[in-house]
């Protein structure tokens, strides 16, 4: 599958006015995101996430490295025409109505604004009732929704969203997740930068962890969060005896769950057969996994070492 974007050996340093290097924002980042994926970039504050997005979209110029955006260069307006971007803190024209703002974005995307299309966009982000109101009276969550609507103008192939649910209430977050899921099923690629790990975990299928300008982990979410060769097992209450399970190699977990290390399927089934022979009735089996916070903590610790 062709890549939505690919960056190689991306370096970006920030300098003072006198040319002295102040900080290294990106230190040789390599990353390729396939089309149709939902990719989440996570990392602590100052890790270089926003700088990465700016270099990706041609807003900042990298010191060195290669950036390919939808098969073209980010400086090429034809590439950017196929991208929708929601910045972290979008400044909106307070005196305008949301419809006028979306019409402006549509024109700048070299498309013809049509009232029905603009209204449909406002409806998608839940702002239909505020279509005639001035933006200056909007709450933070409403502004975020409008920013999202602007990113969706022209049904872009790649959506780059910097903290998309920032300031949005829990119910709104659910709506945004549903909207992003619809974009994914349309075939769009999602690139999300968020400090809300639970949000990222729910939306994204692939994750990258950026720390001090370096990509310290990258890959499918289930692979990153999986604990290799460990399984969680639950048996019907009271069966079998704990001693029998311990003898078979099971380790007691929390809430009546047992864990077992099994290098492959035959080993796992051998252990399960033993438990069943001891009178155990299997009711639940799943691969043991960690949440994204554990993965991030481990990756940052490894990166710091």
């Amino acid at each position: 599958m062709p890549a939505a974007f690919a960056v190689a050996s991306l370096h970006k340093r920030f300098r003072t006015r006198f040319g002295r290097t102040e900080s290294v924002a990106l230190d040789g980042v390599d990353l390729e995101v396939p089309r149709g994926e939902a990719f989440g970039l996570i990392g602590p504050n100052g890790a270089g996430k926003t700088t990465f997005i700016k270099c990706l979209l041609g807003i900042s110029h990298p010191d060195s490295g290669r950036v390919e955006l939808l098969g073209g260069r980010p400086e090429d307006p034809r590439s950017r025409a196929r991208v929708g971007y929601l910045p972290e803190r979008l400044t909106l024209p307070g005196a305008w109505t949301p419809r006028a703002f979306l019409a402006s974005v549509t024109r700048l995307k070299r498309l013809r604004p049509q009232r029905s299309t603009l209204d449909a966009l406002l409806e998608r982000v839940g702002l239909s009732d505020a279509a005639e109101r001035r933006i200056r009276g909007f709450s933070k969550g409403m502004r975020q929704r409008l920013g999202l609507a602007a990113a969706l103008v022209g049904a872009p192939e790649l959506l780059v969203l910097d903290e998309p649910t920032d300031g949005v209430d829990p119910l709104g977050r659910v709506e945004i997740r549903q909207l992003l899921a619809a974009e994914l099923s349309r075939g769009a690629t999602l690139f999300i930068n968020s400090h809300l790990l639970s949000e990222t975990e729910r939306i994204c299928t692939r994750i990258g962890i950026l720390s001090r300008g370096r990509l310290v982990r990258s890959g499918p979410l289930d692979v990153l969060t999986a604990v290799q060769q460990r399984w969680r097992v639950r048996f019907a209450d009271g069966q079998p005896a704990p001693e029998a399970l311990i003898a078979l190699g099971f380790e007691p977990g929390e809430g009546g769950v047992w864990e077992i290390a099994a290098p492959d399927a035959p080993a796992l089934n051998h252990a399960l057969d033993g438990a069943r022979a001891a009178g155990g009735l299997l009711v639940e089996l799943e691969r043991a996994s960690r949440d994204l916070e554990d993965v991030l903590t481990e990756a940052l610790a490894a990166g710091a070492a």
Partner: protein, 277 residues
């Protein structure tokens, strides 16, 4: 076309600003005041009497078109210098607002070339200046024309000169903003260019007063490139009052002013293209 879209957005933004609403109201009120309070009695093409709020203003009887010349000259100076001052103050914030964090990133992510953003901002401001100057001068021409039967387009053409002069000043303001995003600095740059433009108008007598040295060389260099705004204002006044103009002089002045604005815009685009946001 994208620059035109950016310019139109700037005009929409301006329409919501108090500065421009106040200017529009002030100009309209002034014109309405003239419509209702100014009485001009024209007999056989001659202005026989002038009354403002019922009080006689002008006693000499002379041809109406001749009598209106000083009026148009003064009006053109008000439009020129008043327009420059108002423009510097009211437009100083446009470019800094365009470059504000959270807005410029969004604009640069759209399929817009960087030079198109600057060109659109410049065009929008120029359209504002042109609109204001033409509205004021055309309004005056209409009011006085309806009252005296003297119709002339020269005051309107002279207003275009004022807009061109402001264009050169605004190009400097835009260039400064691309380096440092500050409305105050942008306004200061505009004010400085107006002062330099006045000094450039009288550069020869000033140079004669200066002794040899770096200061003189610097002054000579700077005032050689800055448009002599005083000469442009004089030319605008002469045009408005159908006065004599040196042949080719106005064209040379205009060409120099436009070249100055173009050079500043080129510097601004060069810097803007290399900047990170």
């Amino acid at each position: 076309m994208t620059s035109v879209a950016v310019a139109l957005d700037l005009l929409r933004e301006a329409a919501a600003r108090r500065w421009f609403l106040a200017l529009g109201l002030a100009l309209t009120s002034l014109l309405l005041l003239l419509v209702t309070s100014l009485r001009l009695e024209v007999v056989d093409g001659a202005l026989a009497a002038t009354r403002l709020f019922g009080q006689p203003l002008y006693h000499n009887i002379q041809a109406a078109d001749v009598a209106l010349r000083p009026v148009f000259r003064v009006a053109s100076q008000i439009v020129f210098w008043g327009g420059l001052g108002f423009g510097v103050l009211s437009c100083a914030d446009f470019a800094p607002a365009l470059l504000s964090p959270g807005r410029i990133e969004h604009l640069l992510s759209l399929p817009v070339r960087r030079w198109e953003l600057l060109a659109g901002t410049f065009l929008g401001v120029l359209a504002l200046a042109l609109g204001g100057a033409i509205y004021a001068s055309a309004g005056l021409v209409l009011v006085l024309g309806a009252k005296t039967g003297v119709w002339t387009a020269w005051p309107v053409i002279s207003a275009v000169l004022a807009a061109v002069a402001f264009g050169s000043v605004y190009a400097g303001m835009l260039a400064v903003t691309v380096w440092v995003r500050s409305a105050a600095l942008s306004a200061a740059a505009g004010a400085s260019l107006i002062v330099l433009g006045l000094l450039a108008t009288h550069r020869i007598p000033i140079l004669d007063l200066m002794g040899q040295g770096v200061g003189r060389a610097l002054f000579a260099g700077v005032t050689a490139v800055v448009p002599p705004l005083g000469k442009l204002a004089d030319a605008a006044g002469a045009l408005a009052s159908s006065g004599p103009l040196a042949p080719g002089g106005l064209l040379r002045l205009l060409a120099g002013t436009i070249a100055f604005a173009g050079a500043l815009l080129a510097v601004a685009v060069w810097r803007f293209d290399r900047r990170d946001f």
